[in-house]
């Protein structure tokens, strides 16, 4: 049976090309502008990072990477990402679920709260934790008495990272879930599924691509976060330095090759994330479009 809904993309493109196309010159100018901007502000710096890292050949690069402090920084960065990304995955899904599917008092407030980490400077986020858990804070003496170390240690770094990267998953999911509404969930419940089955078999498959985007972005930021982590980490070499902090220290010590070597590894991790995302888009493009409903 003929179904017009099967071919919306084609119809749309044909329509668009007739009605709202710029003249070739204008088109070329716009594209040139976009590419030039991207090249100068994004691509060039990235190239410079790698160029600097290998400026004295491969050996200094390798020795910079093999430095015990660098290895510790890489390990800490990955550890922080491994803890904070799953936490934000769970928190993000819960918050998006609550906002998109329920009506309750304080919903607008919660939505604003989710944006808070984006709207305040990461340095302030870090300072908040210092005020909260520092030696002279309210909680400080109690923590000290029980031998719990948060500041200038891994827990503090994780907390700061979780705070800063919280919005990525939630922000990605809220519009998606709002658009999908609660129809599918109601259908599943009416068929006898319990809450968990409904989430696992119906909600999760519907949001999986948006969720994946959110996680990738969250991960990229978790590995790259500087400001908040800088305040709470204490910069203890080999112990509480993440990769971005380590890069800064090396750079301030005029050790440009090592700084850029670590930076290139960090950039490499980010690039892997981006490549992963692009591959997924190529592989599952049609399915992503279908589950997003447009």
């Amino acid at each position: 049976m003929a179904d017009p809904e099967l071919y919306p993309a084609d119809a749309y493109h044909q329509h668009a090309s007739l009605a709202v196309t710029e003249r070739p010159l204008a088109r070329a100018a716009l594209m040139a502008l976009a590419f030039a901007f991207l090249a100068i502000f994004l691509l060039l710096p990235l190239v410079v990072v790698f160029e600097q890292a290998f400026s004295r050949g491969i050996a200094p690069f390798l020795s910079a990477i093999n430095d015990p402090d660098t290895i510790a920084a890489i390990r800490l960065t990955l550890l922080v990402a491994v803890i904070s990304v799953p936490l934000n995955l769970v928190f993000g899904v819960a918050a998006a679920w609550a906002i998109a599917k329920f009506e309750f008092k304080g919903k607008a407030f919660l939505t604003t709260l989710i944006d808070l980490p984006f709207s305040v400077s990461p340095v302030i986020s870090g300072l908040v934790y210092v005020l909260l858990f520092g030696a002279s804070s309210l909680l400080g003496p109690w923590l000290k008495m029980h031998g719990i170390v948060i500041l200038f240690a891994v827990p503090g770094i994780v907390l700061a990272t979780v705070f800063v990267t919280f919005p990525f998953v939630a922000r990605e999911l809220i519009p998606l879930m709002q658009e999908q509404g609660t129809g599918d969930e109601e259908a599943a419940l009416s068929l006898g599924a319990n809450g968990w089955q409904t989430f696992w078999h119906v909600t999760l498959p519907n949001i999986k691509w948006g969720l994946l985007y959110g996680v990738l972005l969250c991960n990229a930021r978790a590995m790259g976060e500087f400001g908040a982590v800088s305040v709470v980490s204490g910069h203890i070499r080999g112990l509480t330095n993440t990769m971005p902090l380590h890069v800064e220290i090396l750079y301030n010590e005029y050790n440009a090759v090592a700084a850029f070597a670590v930076a290139s590894v960090l950039a490499g991790l980010a690039l892997v994330t981006l490549v992963l995302k692009t591959l997924l888009e190529l592989r599952y493009g049609a399915e992503i479009a279908a589950t997003r409903g447009h």
């Binding site: 809904e5 099967l6 009416s190 068929l191 006898g192 089955q197 078999h201 498959p205 589950t291």
Partner: protein, 347 residues
């Protein structure tokens, strides 16, 4: 399964969507909830399903109070307006979902679930489409899959929310006949919501006409169409014309003329006269009639619809004449409704 709705009230943020609604549905009946948007018909359906909780009142399934049961416990088959098919599952998986999520003790084996899905696909005349995804189906096919999915759990009651709302006219008519056949074959108690009076009158054993959160009238298609019990039902179902009139000594008057209709039961005062445009007789000599000057005339399918201006206030009414009737050529037409009803003016 009988369903009894007893004095149910439902408020959303203090706004009443249903005000004190009571309704008895017999086992095996096919019932239509008919009304304009905002009349509360979908709310009533969702309350019966258990998708909403009543603010007040009780809903019985058989003799049991089902008000506090969850939707899972009520075991109803619900077909959603936009079908709500799971887009990442095949047709067979969609239909089998309700069986797959049963607790282990009551869950059929995979082979049994697959067999049941095929069986239901046969019933809804979609055999062979097991492996398709919802996006690969037409609107009418999706509708059938949604119905098959709802029936897979062997529900006590089948509830359909605007089942044909999103389909084009041709498919609607086909599916309507087909739903009636399925209902007669399976004998489920079935309740469906619609704003399309033709659909309700043609399909349902009884029609529940709703307006502004209240039930206006419950009855068979004939009862609702031929003896509407309120101005709303008169206006909402079928074509109707109305005229402001006066009642004096059991006689109906328009301005200063009696129109030859008597109403012994109604007290004196102002009222509104309702009748069907086709349910009239034309008169030659006006000895107690409604007479008006012809204001407009247009052809509607097999008849001619004539608009008349009545009396000094130039109230307009419509009547229907056979095509080619000489009266349509005259400037003055006299008639009297054959079947009519008076409703006293409110307030």
């Amino acid at each position: 399964m009988e369903v009894r709705v007893s004095n149910v009230r439902k408020e959303f943020d203090r706004f009443p969507a249903l005000r004190d609604v009571s309704l008895d549905i017999r086992s095996g009946e096919l019932i239509a909830l008919l009304g304009p948007s905002g009349s509360g018909k979908t709310t009533l359906l969702r309350l019966i399903a258990g998708l909403e909780r009543p603010t007040r009142g009780t809903i019985f399934f058989g003799d049991e109070d089902a008000s506090n049961r969850t939707i899972q416990q009520r075991n109803v088959g619900f077909v959603f307006q936009h079908y709500a098919l799971f887009r990442h599952m095949t047709v067979a998986d969609n239909i089998g979902f309700g069986l797959k999520v049963r607790p282990a003790a009551k869950r059929p084996t995979r082979a049994e679930i697959r067999a049941r899905a095929s069986e239901l696909l046969d019933l809804v005349q979609l055999s062979g489409l097991e492996k398709r995804y919802p996006a690969q189906l037409s609107g009418g096919q999706r509708q059938r899959v949604a119905l098959a999915r709802a029936m897979a759990i062997e529900p006590k009651v089948l509830l359909l929310d605007e089942p044909f709302g999103a389909l084009d006219a041709q498919v609607r008519r086909e599916l309507r006949r087909w739903l009636r056949e399925i209902h007669d074959a399976t004998g489920h108690t079935t309740i469906f919501v619609t704003h399309d009076q033709e659909e309700a009158l043609e399909l349902a054993d009884r029609v529940v006409v709703m307006s502004q959160g209240r039930i206006e009238q419950i009855g068979t298609a004939d009862e609702v169409y031929d003896t509407p019990n309120s101005p709303f039902v008169y206006g909402f179902i079928g074509e109707s014309s109305s005229l402001p009139v006066k009642v004096e000594d059991g006689q109906v008057w328009i301005s200063d003329r009696p129109i030859g209709l008597s109403t012994p039961d109604l007290g004196d005062g102002e009222a509104t006269l309702y009748f069907r445009p086709h349910d009239i007789e034309l008169l030659d000599d006006c000895n107690g009639c409604i007479a008006g000057t012809l204001a407009a005339s247009r052809r509607v399918a097999g008849t001619r619809r004539v608009e008349l201006e009545i009396g000094g206030a130039r109230e307009r009414v419509e009547i229907e004449l056979p095509v080619g009737h000489p009266a349509a050529q005259k400037s003055r037409v006299a008639f009297r409704p054959k079947r009519w009803k008076l409703f006293p003016k409110e307030g």
